[in-house]
Each structure stands twice: as C-alpha cells, then as structure tokens.
C-alpha cells in the first residue's frame, strides 16, 4: 500500500486509531477547533482527537437546536446524541462562534456519557490583557487535563509536545508546498484526506508517515492540471467530496484555507522558554479563523496564499448558517474581487443539493 492509501485508510477508519490507543488504557480527549491546545492534552499522555461530522441528514438534533443553527454543529450534536462519541473520555470546545457556544450548552445538558469543557479563549488577538486572561484559562485547563489523566504536565513534557506538534505542522506545510508547482504533486482532495488523517493520528505516527509520503510524491505530477488554480476557503470542510467536485469540474485546487487544512499547519509555535506562554502566543498572535478579530490578518494571509500558490480564483464554501464566514465573505468580497474573481457558495454540510452547486462551480471555472 502506498502512503497515500494508508492515509486514506486512516481517514476512513479512524476507529482503528482509537482502539490501538486505548489498548493500554490511555485516554482520548475529543475537541472541535484548532484553538483547543492539543499540546496540553498530549503532554498529559492523552490523545487529542479532532471530532468531525458525517454527511448524514440531521435527525434528533433538530429538536434541540433550531433549524437555523449551523448545520455542522447540529450534525456533531446529532452524532453525540447517537452516542457516536462514546469512546471519548472528555470533550473540549472553545469560544469561537455562537453555534459552538450553544453546542457546549446542549452537550453539557443532554450528553451525560461524555463530559464537556469550554476553554474560554479571547477573540481579540494581540491584546496583552487578553494574553493574561487566556493564560489563567489555560492553567485551569492544564489542571483539568492533569486530573483527567492522572499525569503531571511538566514544562519539559509540554515543550516536547509542542515540538512534536510543530513537526507535524512543518511536514504538512512541506507537503502543501508541493502544490505550488505548475503541475502539483498532490491533488486537493488527496491533500485534504492526508491532512485530516494526520490530525486524527497520534503525531508520533503521523510524522514518519508524512516524511515517507513527501518522499513518495515529490517527483509526482497530478493529472488534469490544466485548469484554473483555485483557492478554497470558508467554513469547515470535513469531507473531500466538495473538493472533488471542484476538481471534477476542471479546477485545480491549489490550496485550501480550511481548519482541516492550511489553518491547522500554517503557523508554528514561536520559541519560548515558558511553554504555556508559547501556547498563549501561538493562539493569540494570529487571526486564523473568521471568528477572531482583527480580520486584517486574515486578509493579508489570503493575499499570501494567492501569491504563493498562483491562484486564479477563490471559492468560499460557507456552510449554511455559518455566520463568521458569511460575514467575512461579504466584507472581503469587493476587495478580493479586485485581485482575483471570487465565488461565494452556500453549502449544506450534509452535501445535499450538489447538482445546483456543480452548475455554479462549473460556470465559475469556465469563466476563469
């Protein structure tokens, strides 16, 4: 099996990772967001596990959330009600958007089997008083993880975890760089699967696999690389279907600014003797998500992606009722249009209505 297939296998069967990890009685802590400091969970000897949704239609969650709540969040809650996250020892959310705040409320009230915790991260970046506040919150979180695992987190162990996670980020970025070429070495859908598999896996495993993969594909050229080069951005995409759709319509997905992709690995932690401070600054000295302020950062970063990946067009995939990205796309639209054509699409997380979506993507690619 080639490493790409290995990655696909892990992506398709994440339960294998869980089973193997739990064999020795180790704990798994679920989370939903890149702002959750995975390193702290890892330093306590537990597996940080990013929870993703499924393209299933929503059932029970609709009687808890109103249908106007973010479809992704409703989907996650549906899975939680269905005990699909029963393997988690705890769930961690953070302060990103109103939908996630209510996910915490619902989870805390209605899902007894898995306790839920909210890390209170500031939404304003670069603010010294915010660093101070966040530090207090992270200290509380650290204590909680120590209590949950029964392991003490030392500065040394935390530093090691940071190093390990940064290594994953660097490797993903190195692999991502192979998409800068005129003919990319790896397609957008292949990359998303790899990136998500690496997020799911223990990093001790992901890193050697990523090294091997880079070696395997570095001289590779994907087929169908003549089309316009697309930058994908917007809400979470946790399924390669939408990327495949763009590729099937003749687009080359050159780079994807998603929390399942570039947002996860674009930055690494700055050297710092105090590892807790390093994490504070890692999360608060950059605006990666549309939920945070100021948004100028995000705009500059999109510019960087456009330049580095030689982008011809941008597609915003906004999950229905994802307010942060609905605002961002509307606010950035005019400015971005001056650089490259930008298409904003509303998508169902359950991937229904792909037919209409296809038509619009096709028209956009033809225009490019």
């Amino acid at each position: 099996m080639g490493t790409l297939e290995t990655m696909k296998d892990i992506f398709d069967n994440p339960n294998k990772i869980i089973e193997e990890w739990k064999k020795d009685g180790r704990k798994v802590v679920g989370h939903r967001c890149m702002y959750v400091p995975e390193e702290i969970i890892h330093a306590a000897g537990m597996l940080p596990y990013p929870t993703f949704g499924t393209p299933e239609p929503i059932k029970k969650a609709d009687s808890y959330f109103q249908p106007c709540a973010c479809e992704f969040v409703r989907n996650l809650f549906d899975l939680a009600l269905d005990k699909k996250f029963g393997f988690l020892d705890s769930m961690v959310l953070c302060n990103t958007c109103d939908a996630v705040r209510h996910l915490y409320n619902m989870w805390d009230t209605y899902v007894d089997s898995v306790p839920c915790y909210m890390v209170n991260n500031p939404q304003k970046m670069y603010d010294e008083s915010g660093f101070k506040f966040y530090r207090m919150e992270l200290e509380k979180f650290k204590k909680l993880m120590e209590d949950l695992s029964g392991n003490k987190i030392t500065d040394e162990s935390l530093k090691k975890s940071i190093e390990l996670y940064d290594e994953t980020r660097k490797l993903l970025k190195e692999l991502n760089d192979l998409r800068k070429r005129d003919i990319p070495a790896i397609s957008g859908s292949e990359f998303l699967v790899t990136s998500m598999a690496s997020m799911l896996m223990p990093k001790e495993k992901a890193n050697p696999l990523l090294r091997k993969l880079i070696d395997e594909v570095k001289n590779r050229e994907i087929k169908n690389a003549d089309g316009p080069r697309i930058l994908l951005t917007g809400s979470i995409i946790d399924n390669p279907t939408l990327i495949e759709l763009v590729e099937d319509m003749g687009g080359v997905v050159a780079v994807d600014d998603l929390c399942t992709s570039a947002k996860y690995f674009w930055y690494t932690t700055k050297p710092n003797n105090d590892p807790m401070d390093a994490i504070v600054r890692f999360n608060l000295e950059r605006t990666l998500c549309a939920c945070a302020h100021p948004s100028e950062d995000r705009y500059d970063y999109l510019q960087e992606l456009i330049r580095e990946f030689n982008v011809d067009g941008i597609i915003y995939f906004n999950i229905k009722y994802c307010h942060p990205f609905v605002y961002e796309s509307a606010i950035f639209r005019k400015k971005l249009e001056e650089e490259v054509p930008t298409l904003t699409l509303e998508v169902d997380h359950s991937l229904s209505g792909l037919g209409q979506l296809k038509t619009r993507v096709q028209a956009f690619i033809e225009m490019l």
Binding site: K60, D62, S63, P67, S352, G355
Partner: protein, 257 residues
C-alpha cells in the same frame, strides 16, 4: 346526544355526526371556492345519510382553516385541539398525531389525559402537504390516489432536492425529460415530503404510539416512507380524513355537557 363536527379544510370539507360515542355518518367533499356552500352540502348529505334533521343535532363543533366561515352556530376549536380529541377517540393509547392536510401539516404530542404537551405547525411553505403532492401528480400525469402505490415500485433511489414546490416541479419536469422512470421520481417526491414531515415531528421529539391522519394518510407510499424515516410504526385509522371533524364533534359534546 347527537352532535356534529365540521372540519372546513382548504382542499376538502368533512362533516361527522356523532351519536353519543358512535359515528352515525360522515361525508367528505371538495371545498372548492365557497367554504360556506361546501359545508352546507356536506351537512345536508350527512344528515340524510344519518336519517336525521338539523334540529336533532344538539351542538356543532367546527375546526379547520375555514371554521370562521361555517354557516352554522358552532363551538370553534383549533386543529391541534380537535386532532388530539379525535385521535384519542380512535386510539386511546396513542400519544401523538401527524396530520397532513391540503395546505397544512402538523405534529402533536399529548399525554394520556389528553393534555397537549407540544405541537409544531408547518410554515407557509406548501412542501410537505397535500397540495404539493397534487401538483407533482399533475406534472407526472398520474392520478393522485395512485401515486403512493407507484412509488413503492421504484427501482432506484433518487433525490428531489428542491424544498420549494415551484422548484421541485421544474426539477421533476427535467427528470421526465431525462427519461427517469416515473416510479423512481415518485419515490423521490415521497421521500422529500416525508423528510419535511419528519423534520416537524423531530422538532417536538415525537415518538411512540403515533397515528397519522388527514387525507394523505391513505397514501401508502408516504406512510411507508414515513415509517422508514421515523423508525417507528405509524398507525393509520380507518377513516383518517375525518379525525379532525370527529374531534370537533367531541369538542361540541364536551362543551354541551
């Protein structure tokens, strides 16, 4: 005691005569454009069937969108209240109703004493109601009463994604042009309606002993699909279309007592 119940719906008008606990006669007519006239005709017919005159009826109850235009002095009740009474009359052990009418759809949850615990009504959008099915039948040139049966003979699962009846119609027309077999399209249509109805039922966490009423309950295709999606066994009463009218008659009797 003789009482009458009128359900003046948007597509059909139903009248029931109740003698104590027994249904003496009932009538179902198309409402047309004149609710008053339709009600009167239905009442005349049902009185004749029962062999009684209007004077014999001690009290009349009315429900349905046209209840205010009924040309008789009557005790008025909302569909939610009347459906509940009617449902408990047929099935005292039931704890919920799904009622799919011409332009309305509702899900109601109640306790054993008949207290309404929760309910949900559809919004002004017509998808998920009888009128939507009728429009689709027209587009496909099949008889409305045959749709359900035909949909069960589908060979492939296809998706009708448009929620809006106007868009769904054009989607269906394009499928006809693409020569998608009618049975498969019908199955897709039924699934689309059923998912709207289930959405409504889910909003109030409706489960357990649920009965389905309204004219649409006679559509075996829809009931089958609903059972699949709700993962439960819906009960269809013998006369699903008159349950609301019966509830109105029960309401009239209750008030009289």
């Amino acid at each position: 005691m003789l009482t009458a119940g009128i359900d003046a719906g948007s597509l059909s008008t139903k009248v029931v005569i109740l003698n104590q606990d027994k249904i003496m006669a009932y009538e179902v007519l198309a409402t047309g454009i004149d609710i008053g006239a339709a009600t009167k005709r239905a009442m005349d017919n049902v009185l004749e069937k029962a062999g009684i005159s209007l004077q014999d009826v001690e009290s009349i109850g009315s429900t349905g969108v046209g209840k205010k235009k009924v040309p008789y002095k009557s005790v008025q009740g909302t569909e939610v209240v009347c459906d509940t009474k009617g449902a408990l009359y047929f099935y005292p052990k039931s704890n919920g109703v799904i009622d799919i009418g011409g332009e309305n759809c509702r899900a109601i949850k109640f306790d054993a004493e008949g207290n309404i615990v929760d309910f949900a009504l559809n919004d002004k959008c017509a998808s998920g109601t009888g009128i939507f099915l009728d429009a689709m039948a027209k587009a496909l040139r099949v008889k409305p009463e045959e749709m359900g049966e035909l949909s069960l003979q589908s060979t492939e699962d296809i998706e009708v994604t448009s929620m809006c009846s106007v868009f769904a119609e054009s989607e269906v027309v394009s499928m006809i042009h693409r020569k998608v077999p009618k049975n498969n399209i019908l199955r897709g249509i039924h699934k689309s309606i059923a998912s709207r109805v289930v959405g409504l039922a889910n909003r109030i966490l409706l489960e357990g002993n649920v009965i389905i009423i309204g004219g649409i309950a006679k559509n075996i295709g829809l009931v089958t699909t609903l059972n699949e999606l709700m993962n439960s066994e819906l009960t269809v009463p013998e006369k699903p279309e008159v349950v609301g009218a019966l509830g109105a008659a029960l309401l009239a009797r209750e008030r009289k007592e």
